[in-house]
């Protein structure tokens, strides 16, 4: 009995496999017709400060008509990084317009792009950076903006009214500005990092092995290696530069045992490590998370004094898949309001590019201690700093492969 049962199951597997093999070509034709979801065409333009781009207006996604108000009781779906929008700002908006806000968060920009591209989730607002703008517009995921709703637009710095990555501001509104540098605690790290010849070297100093972290973002982390070596083109396509990055970042992994994360703003105040690659907004945010018995002046941030470091701004875009574009426009306008932006800044630590927020006012109004003044971004920084741009496809793949090798552990 057992033998019969055993052989029947073996035979059934083989027969089933044969049947599957024979019918597969037929099935494949059917499935190709059923099709996959993503279908995009056309070349991708890559904007840069030397090569500004005016995006074509989408034919499929029309801008909404002016003069509408958000429908009370409707839902506004926002997709953003965790801890990147003040809960107070959201609650105030809900109360003011009677709209319910549903905030979903992501930890990783690549992952977010995949979810947005699937269009299932119908987000209204998304907070990317300009390095994915080409892909978003190429895949026709964005809705052109109706500027009639953006009455607070003049609050923005003049240099952001007509940005190089979106001439005419057809699709984007700037959200926050920040630099990427090095943050440390003076009570855990005794080096004078700001005074060093090449402060980036401290991230490879084995004295701090096991006591440091780098940012879990492939482009940000790998560009830091280039800047350490005096290479200014952080969007390089050169394979020689990429090999250099690979060697040094793998060396970092094995000698320094870094934590790879984006939670520096809570980890360092909690004393998990004393030295890390830092975003300026996170640095400004750290005093909030320090325990009561620790003096906020232990937190320090360094960025090149000549301004030649990584500098970026995040954006807000209106996704075409969303079902509440009117409320989306009202929200975009709301965060351009000086008071609301101030509240948001108080929570996130990330500076809004609004005229009212200058370095002196930020310190004098108590938004940040004097020791973190280096974390403030000024308009002229954008003239000399290096933004993280979108890379051409082949180069992007090569960079991602190095990052994959890094994250696979050694």
């Amino acid at each position: 009995m057992t033998g019969y049962r055993g052989s029947a199951s073996r035979r059934s597997i083989v027969k089933g496999a044969l049947a599957a093999g024979i019918s597969l070509p037929a099935m494949s034709a059917f499935l190709t017709a059923c099709g996959s979801k993503t279908s995009s065409s056309g070349a991708v333009k890559i904007p840069s400060p030397d090569n500004p781009v005016t995006w074509p207006l989408s034919k499929a996604n029309q801008a909404i008509a002016a003069g509408q108000t958000p429908k009370a009781g409707s839902t506004l779906r926002i997709y953003n990084y965790a801890d990147y929008l003040s809960p107070r700002v959201l609650k105030d908006f809900e109360a003011k317009y009677g709209v319910k806000i549903r905030l979903s968060t992501f930890n990783d920009a690549d992952e977010a792009l995949t979810k947005v591209a699937s269009k299932d989730l119908k987000f209204d607002l998304y907070f990317p950076s300009y390095d994915s703008l080409g892909k978003l517009i190429g895949a026709d995921l964005l809705r052109p903006l109706t500027h009639d709703y953006l009455t607070n637009y003049d609050n923005l710095w003049p240099s952001f009214h007509d940005p190089w990555y979106d001439r005419g501001a057809r699709y984007t509104v700037p959200y926050t500005i920040y630099t990427t540098g090095i943050g440390w605690r003076t009570d855990m790290v005794d080096a004078d990092i700001a005074g060093m010849d090449n402060p980036y070297d401290v991230l490879w100093d084995t004295k701090y092995a096991g006591n440091m972290a780098i940012l879990d973002d492939w482009h940000t982390a790998m560009s830091m290696v280039l800047l350490r070596n005096g290479i200014d083109d952080i969007n390089t396509t050169s394979t020689k530069d990429l090999d250099l990055i690979r060697t040094q970042i793998l060396d970092l992994r094995s000698t320094m045992r870094p934590k790879v994360t984006i939670s520096m703003y809570t980890d360092m105040p909690a004393g998990q490590y004393g030295l890390a690659q830092f975003w300026s907004g996170d640095a400004i945010n750290t005093p909030y998370y320090l325990p009561k018995n620790v003096d906020p002046s232990v937190m320090r941030y360094w960025f090149p004094s000549d301004g030649k470091g990584e500098i970026d701004n995040d954006l807000v875009v209106c996704l075409a898949q969303g079902e509440n574009p009117v409320a989306a426009h009202f929200f975009m306008n709301e965060i351009l309001d000086n008071d609301v932006a101030g509240k948001n800044f108080g929570f996130t630590g990330y500076q809004p590019p609004l005229n009212k927020f200058t370095p002196s006012t930020l310190v004098s109004q108590g938004y940040l201690p004097k020791t973190l003044q280096t974390a403030v971004v000024e308009p002229q920084d954008f003239k000399v700093g290096f933004p993280l741009l979108q890379l051409p496809a082949a180069s992007d793949t090569a960079w991602h492969q190095v990052w994959q090798e890094f994250k696979a552990g050694g």
Binding site: T2, R5, G6, A8, S9, G21, L24, P25, M27, S28, A29, L31, T32, S36, T38, S39, S40, S41, G42, V44, D108, D110, E111, L113, T114, K115, A117, K135, G138, A139, G210, N211, A213, R253, S254, R257, P258, K259, V260, T261, A270, G271, Q272, Y273, P291, A393, D396, T397, H400, Q404, E405, F406, K407, A408, G409, G410
Partner: protein, 306 residues
């Protein structure tokens, strides 16, 4: 015998069994078996040029082996940077499973044989971790293991020493202990079930005949519990293979990454989704082998198969 009874039954009565089994069978076929082919089609497929999302290729004749070759080359080729993670997975899972066994066996044995009137309470306490969320238990440990957390404070013995170990900074030991903590409840129940079944008379007989505790264990208890041990080892080790979140929570460092992390890092990264399919297939193959071996070696396995 069965055939004689069948002739007495009304016609059409034999349809009831296939009808009962059909919904479940169709469900598994559509949602378990067929999606495995989708994984294969994506692994051997291409990527969309703009968003680099995966594009599946259904016809085996059109399959593109680039993604598979890329993964394979980086496991066995000249720059095998995926291999350390695979080796680490095997090492961590083996150590964690054996560690679980060392803890689970005495506990299960005690509960089965010596618990007496406390048996119900003990069983309830042992079952408790099943409905305490795994994440809650891991979160509890993350809080305790923080540099300013209770573990360091307890080890500092109230100021006698100054212990400031960074438990969460990429230590393999933390990850293995975390795996053990998370999965040991899965091992205790099957072990308990098996040990509970062991005839007490044999043990008492061995003792009466003068065997020492160790001899009794080695020559009577252990052989009787062997099949339960094998089942519990499988039930504990196999889920560990796909685990990535224990490593993410207890160690932010790439130096402790497992195959689950390789999958998690690539599955939603544009351009690397197909590679996730390759790792998934590796796990499939590795899991199926012990299962096949187990099924061939035990009668109960054969009964289950038919």
């Amino acid at each position: 015998m069965a055939e004689a009874d069948d002739r007495r039954r009304p016609p059409g009565s034999r349809l009831i069994w296939p009808l009962l089994a059909l919904p479940g069978t169709v469900w598994l076929a559509l949602l378990f078996v067929a999606p495995l082919y989708v994984v294969v089609a994506i692994l051997f497929g291409g990527t969309d040029p703009i968003l680099r999302e995966p594009v599946p290729v259904w016809n085996p004749l059109d399959w593109d082996f680039t993604q598979f070759t890329y993964v394979w080359d980086h496991i066995v080729g000249s720059r095998p940077f995926f291999r350390p993670a695979l080796v680490r997975t095997v090492v961590y899972v083996t150590i964690a499973t054996l560690g679980c066994l060392l803890i689970a066996y005495p506990v299960a044995y005690f509960t089965a044989r010596f618990a007496g009137r406390w048996k119900g309470v003990l069983l309830a306490a042992l079952i408790a971790p099943f409905w305490i969320s795994y994440m809650m238990r891991m979160l509890a440990w993350v809080n305790l293991l923080q540099t300013d957390g209770l573990v360091n404070r307890a080890l500092s013995a109230g100021g006698l020493f100054d212990v400031h170990v960074d438990w969460l900074q990429g230590h393999a030991a933390t990850v293995v202990l975390g795996l053990m903590y998370g999965y040991v409840p899965y091992m205790i129940l099957p072990l308990y079930a098996g040990l509970d079944r062991a005839p007490v008379r044999m043990l008492e007989a061995a003792r009466d005949l003068g065997a020492s505790r160790w001899e009794t264990f080695r020559r009577v208890t252990w052989p009787l519990s062997r099949s339960a041990v094998v089942v519990s080892l499988l039930v504990t080790a196999l889920p560990m293979l796909g685990d990535y979140f224990t490593n993410d929570l207890l160690s932010g460092s790439p130096s402790t990454s497992m195959i689950g992390n390789l999958i998690n890092n690539s599955v939603l990264t544009p351009g690397q989704t197909g590679q996730a399919g390759a790792f998934v297939l590796i796990i499939l193959v590795v899991s199926v082998i012990p299962m096949v071996l187990y099924v061939r070696s035990t009668r109960s396995g054969a009964d289950l198969m038919s």
